[in-house]
Assembly symmetry: C2
DNA sequence: CCTTTAATTAAACACCGTTCAAAATAAAGT
DNA sequence: ACTTTATTTTGAACGGTGTTTAATTAAAGG
């Protein structure tokens, strides 16, 4: 297996048969596969390189850095989530039910892929380089989805009211998912992520959808 | 400064004058001081040891491991937050205002100490050792605070209804803080953490407090 | 076939948390 | 005061990390 050593110091560099895009997909697959069983803390560039049969350096000049490699994996995760959400929506018409489906599907993903989901939010880029635009547009798509439901829920609502409400709902659902995945709810067994999401949506939306029925007087 | 070298290989171990408790406080102070300016990612045991003038090994057999050192610093942070919350509450009587004060004070802490706040939730212990009980009781104290407000808000509510609502509120507020600190809200400037918390509390509580006024029929 | 270009690599670098035997100190015994 | 014992504290070593770089190889162009 080891190549021939000549001259005391020697050799290597055998070109594999993967295009850059194939290799990227291979690596991202390895990341997500690893995170199915092991926490993000245990992931490393060197292990990853071993898994896909390339050297650490190859992965670095493919993605730019280890941080950007993780970012690429996170982008794939976001795509996967967006796909699940839109698929879950096709059989639901009522806008409040749609929001419920979105939130519960999101929770479901977090519970089924806790490590993959955690790394989405625990991975911080160095402050010098900003989040790439393609990442931003993915997130924007999720917000737009929520805002559309809100518009159906209350057609009299203003744009900026829906904008704010979408952020509140997203953040709240996200907080519930996070504490559920981290097991930091310290709640009795009857209180699950599902029941919390139901409580949140029914109460928040119940009040929100009637708050602007007449002459647009916002509460806050 | 360097001790005398004799015999080719040499010396060291000058006993400093700190009791274990003093040293712990010194280290925790160094952690929190560091996190005022630098992200958790850049913190390390070795730098920390240099800051307080001890060797890495000393800190390890003081706290057990680097992970437990961070845990101790997080405990100090939780105490600090609990202290701020209870102090902020003394001038507020109305229970809904109290909840608002709690949430806004919590948000304020997160914004003023983002790195210290982030490490509270991004630090995961290895699964083999559980979260210590003194940590759990601290968190339980925060929940009890919220549940007391909810009881004032709706004296007819059941114990388990308040239990659930306290978790929903806490998780939602937490989610808002997290996305605000991480700059992941992608919202227009008018939508701030404060306005989101106000929206969340007014709508959620507005519905919640009347949901059990008569014969205890819960929505979920 | 030779040259150029691009891909891939091993090795080196500067870190990291942890372990451990040895060194230095303090405390106890005489 | 001296010796012994016990306790801190440490440097050095170990195996790991992400990243850089010079060398090597394969492929492409002429």
């Amino acid at each position: 297996m080891k190549s021939i050593i000549l001259n005391g110091v020697q050799n290597m560099a055998r070109r594999k048969d993967h295009s850059p895009e194939e290799l990227k997909a291979l690596v991202i697959g390895a990341v997500l596969g690893f995170l199915q069983n092991e926490p993000a803390k245990k992931l490393s560039l060197r292990q990853l390189a071993k898994m896909v049969g390339y050297s650490p350096g190859t992965l670095i000049n493919l993605f730019g850095s280890y941080a950007h490699l993780i970012l690429a994996a996170n982008a794939a995760t976001l795509d996967l989530i967006a796909d699940k959400l839109s698929k879950a929506l096709v059989n639901t018409q009522n806008p409040q039910d749609q929001l419920s489906v979105i939130a519960l599907e999101y929770l479901n993903f977090a519970k089924q892929h806790p490590f993959q989901w955690q790394i989405l939010f625990e991975h911080h880029l160095a402050e010098e380089d900003e989040v790439p635009h393609w990442q931003l547009s993915r997130i924007d798509g999720l917000f737009t989805l929520i805002e559309k439901c809100l518009e159906q829920l209350n057609p009299h609502s203003q744009n900026d009211e829906r904008h704010k409400a979408s952020r509140v709902i997203w953040a709240a659902v996200h907080g519930i998912c996070m504490l559920e995945v981290d097991n930091k709810l310290f709640a009795q067994d009857s209180v699950t992520g599902e029941s919390m999401i139901n409580s949140l949506l029914s109460h928040y939306l119940g009040s929100w959808k009637i708050s602007n029925q007449h002459q647009g007087d916002d509460q806050q």
